[in-house]
């Protein structure tokens, strides 16, 4: 009997049999394979999305391994982590990968976000793609904060105390909400238990949101360094093999740098006070957040009022959600926006400045600098971004990706890559 069911394209009979019934190979091929057309001019800044994905996988695998040896109880948590470091076979390696992996996850994601800011990847029609990215970023911060509590060192304890107390600014119900989050009046065993449960859960929620992020990405495809819409096949190349090989090369470089930290500088990004067991009776003299939360901590401290400080800090992240509507310029890439390019550089320097200030003592000049940088952060988004569209004259945009090559007088040969069979 002849069936009218469409058969899969794959030649391998086993793959073909499966793919006809469950088209996962077709889906994979359309996501990262030969059937996924990609702009031919993506530079290395486009590597960081796949790097972030790989880092998440590393975190989940090492996390599950740690969970097999970790004890979530205030009397045993610190010791169980020390046992992982000293007695569990290869435990030190797994923990150092997980610890530094968190930092590198943020490095990768920060670069990924900075890329989006420079090339205007958040603009129409990719607003939701950007917003899902900000959601992932928020979930990452929550996950890292919860994880940092688990080893139950001094920084774990006081970081958890300070951050849960943010919610005490909510009028009337602030105090009950904090007690609800903590499961008591202070950070204690109920807190540690629930933080562990949530730390285990959230990475999988992140994986789910990443799926949505990718679906949104594939709706319109990748943006590109020129930021223009692509309307001809010649400007596209298949993802596989061109970008799979490029991503793998980037991954190798990334892992090399990562290994330098894991093997030679494992505690460089951490804080020594977290090797002191938690003590609910005394706060360390200098409590600082992990470096990746530092810019927002600087914003919190810049405002000399509790409610306004916490609002400014959450607002600094919230503002990212409406960025696609704050930037009114129709031109995406900073390549063609002479003024935005300058303000972009100032923004990045300002952000690094905030990161530096967040780990300094809140005294003297640091307080003033903190206020200046905080003010600039909001000025950049709320005033500079909307105004630029009015005062800036963008450069002329090329008609296609090949356009600038032709007009600069080079030969009319299209690069081999764009002659792909499609």
């Amino acid at each position: 009997m002849k069936s009218s069911i469409p058969k899969s394209q794959f030649k391998n009979p086993v793959i073909n049999w499966i793919d006809t019934r469950l088209p996962i190979f077709t889906a994979a091929n359309e996501a990262v394979g030969t059937e996924h057309p990609t702009p031919k001019n993506l530079n290395y800044w486009w590597n960081f999305g796949s790097l972030a994905g790989v880092t998440l996988v590393i975190m989940i695998i090492t996390g599950i391994a740690l969970a097999m040896n970790y004890t979530a109880h205030v009397d045993h948590a610190f010791d169980s982590v020390e046992r992982i470091m000293r007695d569990v076979n290869g435990g030190w390696l797994i923990r150092y990968i997980h610890m530094n992996g968190a930092s590198f996850f943020f490095i990768v994601v920060y670069i990924h976000m900075a890329r989006s800011l420079y090339y205007g990847s958040y603009k129409a029609p990719r607003e939701l793609l950007w917003i899902l990215g900000v959601v992932i970023y928020l979930l990452m911060m929550a996950t890292a904060f919860l994880g940092y509590t688990l080893p139950w060192g001094q920084m774990s304890f006081w970081g958890a105390t300070v951050i849960t107390n943010f919610f005490s600014v909510i009028p009337f119900v602030g105090e009950p909400i904090v007690n609800w989050l903590l499961g008591g009046y202070t950070v204690d065993n109920p807190t540690l238990n629930r933080f562990y449960a949530l730390h285990y859960l959230l990475p999988f929620v992140i994986a789910g949101v990443i799926l949505l992020h990718i679906v949104a990405l594939h709706r319109f495809g990748s943006n590109n360094p020129l930021g223009i819409d692509i309307n001809n096949d010649k400007d596209m190349i298949p993802f596989h093999p061109y970008y799979t090989i490029k991503d793998f090369f980037g991954l190798a470089v990334f892992l090399a740098v990562f290994c330098i930290f894991v093997f030679f500088l494992p505690n460089f990004l951490g804080h020594p006070d977290n090797y002191v067991p938690a003590d609910s009776m005394s706060t360390p003299a200098h409590i600082v957040p992990e470096w990746y939360l530092s810019p927002f901590y600087a914003i919190l401290r810049a405002v000399p009022d509790k409610l306004l400080g916490v609002l400014a800090m959450f607002g600094a992240i919230g503002i990212l959600f409406i960025l696609p509507w704050l930037d009114r310029s129709p031109v995406r890439s900073a390549h063609f926006r002479p003024l935005y390019k300058i303000f972009y550089i100032i923004f990045i320097i300002n952000m690094l400045g905030l990161g530096y200030l967040g780990v300094q003592n809140p005294e003297g000049i640091y307080i003033i600098l903190g206020r200046v940088c905080t003010a600039w952060y909001f000025i950049h988004f709320l005033i500079v971004m909307p105004l630029l569209n009015i005062i800036e004259t963008p450069m002329a945009l090329p008609k296609s990706l090949s356009d600038p090559i032709f007009s600069s007088g080079s030969s009319g040969m299209a690069p081999a890559a764009s002659r792909s069979k499609k």
């Binding site: 006081w158 105390t161 300070v162 849960t164 107390n165 943010f166 005490s168 007690n179 609800w180 989050l181 903590l182 499961g183 008591g184 009046y185 202070t186 204690d188 109920p190 629930r194 609910s280 009776m281 005394s282 706060t283 003299a285 200098h286 409590i287 919190l300 401290r301 405002v303 000399p304 009022d305 509790k306 409610l307 400080g309 809140p362 005294e363």
Partner: protein, 173 residues
């Protein structure tokens, strides 16, 4: 088709509402289990022997998992806190309202900003610009009455319920 409300509309709205109430009722225990449990709520009280404390000395004890600061204040400290114009304070309160016995100040050792333990109890600690406590986390200064004088904290250090059982025994809670 008429836009008239029908009995069917009513049934639809009523069943959606019942469904929402049911879902809410089912979710509540999941949310409520995160609230402090009965054993956590059973708040114990602590008795402290303060007989050995000299004037100018301080003692920190633990109550409900948090530090309580006990300070036997000097005459200078007491007069100083009482000479402050109350209106000039962020959280206006007179020193008399904050103590039962002039010499003895008993406050929670928890910064009202974001919950750190301020410095100033131990010998050698900085006591901040107002001779009380200094919170290193974000720079809040408290005076010798535990009142907020400078920095981001919004309120004075909280006063726990306490009573003097005798001249040398203090009961907190």
């Amino acid at each position: 088709m008429s836009k008239k409300k029908t009995r069917r509309d009513f049934i639809v709205i009523a069943s959606y509402s019942m469904g929402a109430v049911g879902a809410g009722a089912a979710i509540w225990p999941i949310i409520n289990q995160m609230n402090p449990a009965a054993d956590t709520l059973a708040m114990a009280s602590t008795e402290v022997n303060i007989g050995a404390l000299e004037i100018g000395q301080a003692l920190t004890v633990k109550w409900r998992g948090k530090p309580v600061f006990i300070r036997r204040r000097t005459v200078d400290e007491i007069t100083e806190t009482r000479n402050v114009a109350i209106d000039s304070l962020r959280d206006p309160q007179s020193d008399q309202d904050r103590v039962q016995k002039d010499e003895w100040l008993i406050v929670m050792g928890v910064c009202t900003h974001l919950g750190c333990v301020p410095l100033g109890q131990k010998i050698g600690d900085g006591k901040g610009e107002y001779g009380g406590w200094f919170c290193p986390c974000h720079g809040s200064h408290y005076d010798a009455s535990g009142r907020i004088r400078k920095g981001p904290a919004p309120q004075n250090l909280e006063i726990p319920p306490y009573s003097f059982i005798s001249d040398s025994v203090l009961k907190i809670g």
